[in-house]
């Protein structure tokens, strides 16, 4: 297959960026989007040009490193699928494909398709953790967790922190990301002691770096972990709960 790639090139955070056009003539349907970039980069190196910088690591959809806008859509044409599991078979022979970094004010470009997603970690750092030191935990069977409760917590814990939800959002909101973490921890009885303070601090940090949510729902369409929109509702609910209770838990 022949594909024409319009790739955003930007030397560093302060340099201006621009699109450059490349052609890959021997793409194959079973290639992933990232393997297509590997192919392109091999070609660029042979030509003595600088390869395209992009992030990827596990290439199994779990580390959350990869992510780019493909034709204006985070990760690519297939819904709920990370860039590393998008395949060339989604495109037609002769297609023109536009590759850009995840676009969001909260994610400055580092180089080419690589962005800085540390704003997500600041939300976690603000309170997305549990205050239990090593060695002090009670027996894990001392608190029972219903099968369905554990499964529901897992549905939200599946978030891989890729930031596609933010890039998909017209407002640049991180509600899906934040909500996933808040919900995951709020559902588990063993982590509930800080439920209220956690909600307050995470939401405050989120609002500092990211835009507000207008419930467009674009985030849930691109989320590779399939985090449901109810994570967003949970943010408001947990915040309200914390406000009304005015307690740590």
């Amino acid at each position: 297959m022949k594909l024409t790639l319009e790739v955003w090139r930007q030397r560093d955070a302060v340099s201006p960026g621009a699109f450059e056009t490349y052609e890959v003539t021997d793409a194959t349907p079973e290639m992933t989007l990232l393997e297509l970039l590997d192919r392109l980069n091999d070609q660029l190196v042979v030509e003595g040009r600088e390869p395209v910088a992009f992030e990827s690591d596990c290439r199994e959809g779990i580390c959350g490193c990869c992510g780019m806008d493909v034709d204006g859509r985070p990760h690519g044409p297939q819904a709920n699928t990370p860039s590393c599991e998008q395949h060339v078979r989604s495109f037609q022979d002769g297609d023109r494909v536009v590759l850009e970094p995840l676009r969001s004010a909260a994610f400055p470009v580092v180089r080419d398709l690589v962005v800085d997603r540390s704003a997500l970690d600041r939300v976690i750092q603000a309170g997305g953790h549990v205050a239990v030191d090593a060695g002090t935990a009670p027996d894990a069977d001392a608190t029972t967790v219903g099968y369905l409760t554990a499964e529901e917590a897992l549905d939200f814990a599946a978030c891989i922190g890729c930031g596609a939800c933010v890039a998909a959002c017209p407002n640049g909101s991180a509600m899906l990301f934040t909500g996933a973490r808040i919900t995951h921890l709020a559902k588990l009885p063993q982590t509930r002691a800080e439920r209220g303070t956690r909600a307050r601090s995470m939401v405050a940090q989120m609002e500092h770096d990211f835009g507000p949510c207008s419930t467009y729902g674009e985030c849930a369409i691109v989320c590779p972990a399939g985090i449901p929109l109810s994570a967003i509702a949970a943010v408001g609910k947990e915040r309200m709960r914390a406000f009304l209770r005015n307690r740590a838990d």
Binding site: R11, D12, T28, E35, D38, N41, L44, V45, V46, G48, E50, P51, A53, D57, C58, R59, E60, G61, I62, C63, G64, C65, T81, E85, H87, R89, V110, R111, V114, R117, S118, D121, I124, Q125, A126, H129, V130, V132, D133, A134, G135, T136, A137, P138, A140, D141, T144, V145, G146, Y147, T149, A150, L154, A157, I160, G161, H184, K187, Q190, T191
Partner: protein, 664 residues
Amino acid sequence: MTPRPEATSTATTLGPDDVRTVGTPVDGHVPDVAPDLAWDDRRLHYDLVAPANRRRFTVIVVGTGLAGAGAAAALGELGYQVECFTLHDAPRRAHSVAAQGGINAARARKVDNDSLHRFVKDTVKGGDFRGREADAFRLAQESVRVIDHMNAIGAPFAREYGGRLATRSFGGVQVSRTYYTRGQTGQQLQVAGADALLRQVARGTVTLHTRQEMLDLVVADGRAQGVVVRDLVTGKVRAVTAHAVILATGGYGNIYDKSTLARNSNATAAWRAHRRGAYFANPAFVQFHPTALPLMSQWQSKTILMSESLRNDGRIWVPLRADDDRAPQDVPEDERDYYLERRYPTFGNLTPRDVASRAARERIDAGYGVGPLKNAVYLDFADAIARLGKDAVVARYSNLFHMYQQATGDDPLSTPMRIAPGAHFAMGGLWSDYDLMTSVPGLFVGGEVGWGYHGANRLGANSLLSACVDGWFTLPYAVPSYLAPLLGTPALAPDHDAVAESLDAVRSRTGRLLSTGGTQGPARFHRRLGEILYRSAGVTRTPEGLAEGIADVRALREEFWQDVRVTGEGDVLNQELERAGRVADYLEMAELLCVDALDRDESCGAHFRADHQTPGGEAQRDDAAWCRVSAWESPAPGATDARFVRHDEPLTFQAVPLQTRNYA
């Protein structure tokens, strides 16, 4: 494909004596008590640092996976100052995140006759008696509270309907001791650990440095006292000094290029530490995971791993007839060879990984492989679906099935999966003593970067456990004991000669990579190195193949330094430069890997030598000669004798007597 250089004519004459000498033995410092009492005894004798003095000590932790995040967080919780480095943009991205199956623990809560001693027996036997028995006991003992801790900090372990923790069984054992969270156990443990680390960052006990890569170790006065790191975004190279250094940088399986590992996993930090004096133990022991996806195309970047929990319900088979081109559903039951069930009726599809990988490789090489490239075997769920119903099977493995379908376009519910052995977990690593300290005082290891526990082969679900135990529950005891006598000693001065020397070494190496001006990018060298290693040091090894491999690696390394092309500059994010540095280290390490495999004149675990097998085709250990660890020292640059030096640590087994592994 680029043609590979022909092996030199002398290659086939290379013997172990041509490539190594034998040096003085190393001491594992195992307490002189029965192995099951060793950890209690050692903890009692460890020195302590008083709470008020802990902040006077700085500890460097490199890596933020399960071991690194655990060690950094635990030491931070105790009050030490921790400088923590990761090459990722966030700690959660460490490769521990990708482990799927589960985490073992010797909790023995059921009545299936599991126990702490049985855990040790399975672990030692699974490792084919090439690990330390006392280490396995420590692992078992601390495993009990790992589950409690990870549960408490937010990992949502699978639960039974009554609300208690659920367990499942895994390859290599006959009891149910594996705790799990769907097929995302690594992810859930990693995220919980990384978040616990961020809690310490918020408290100010840990300073986290993201997108920074360790490129050298600072050794001064015979102690590890710092690291040299490169900021991957600005290219700035700097040294950071401390009282102790912990490496938790993962395994080196990516040396094979096509592996189940994340693309950024590398051995550079470990290898640079090795070049500064840390012995490298058993590099030949690399596990080939039996349930990786086979290579399907030239540009495929890795062999994606499917959790081996699939082997609980999937049956592995190939057609009885070689070169059978029929679709799997067209092969009748009596024309299928369920070769694991045939050869190992007791364990069947749950035989340990090395056994399953070798059996698959044997069938594929004999012409029974399936798939377009005839390089795979089938993993079939038809029976499980018939027995349990589709819904139950999907509930157990949904995300793995989804992942397989994403990767291949095939639906495993209607057609069997195709799987093949792929380079996976490194049992070898930096040699460490019972306290996880390497041969360089002050340099500790945690998790896969070290050689501990696994011997020649690793049981499923023991890797997450060993990383968690090292990070959360072993290093926090061992490192303070090392620090205690150093109270009042400041961290190494930044202008010390050793710091300047390490900085210069990194700068000149980086400069050399950028200025070589060749024609081939580092990725091509990595691919060719992988081909050499799969061929000469893969699932089955021969002395001739290994000798050829050593010659091929040397030739490729020479070509690399003549002809590598690293585009771009050093003062900006430059992934080619990162890759080139890592490939350069792999090109050095690969030679040692082959030397170790050539030298170890026996079969054991993942190291299968075709010249050492039983009449039935099983691995033939040589305990009289090889019941020991090979801890390697590389020749100094420019040394007159360019041979590697092997330091032996003899192994003894008291609680689990030496026996032939038998899974039939």
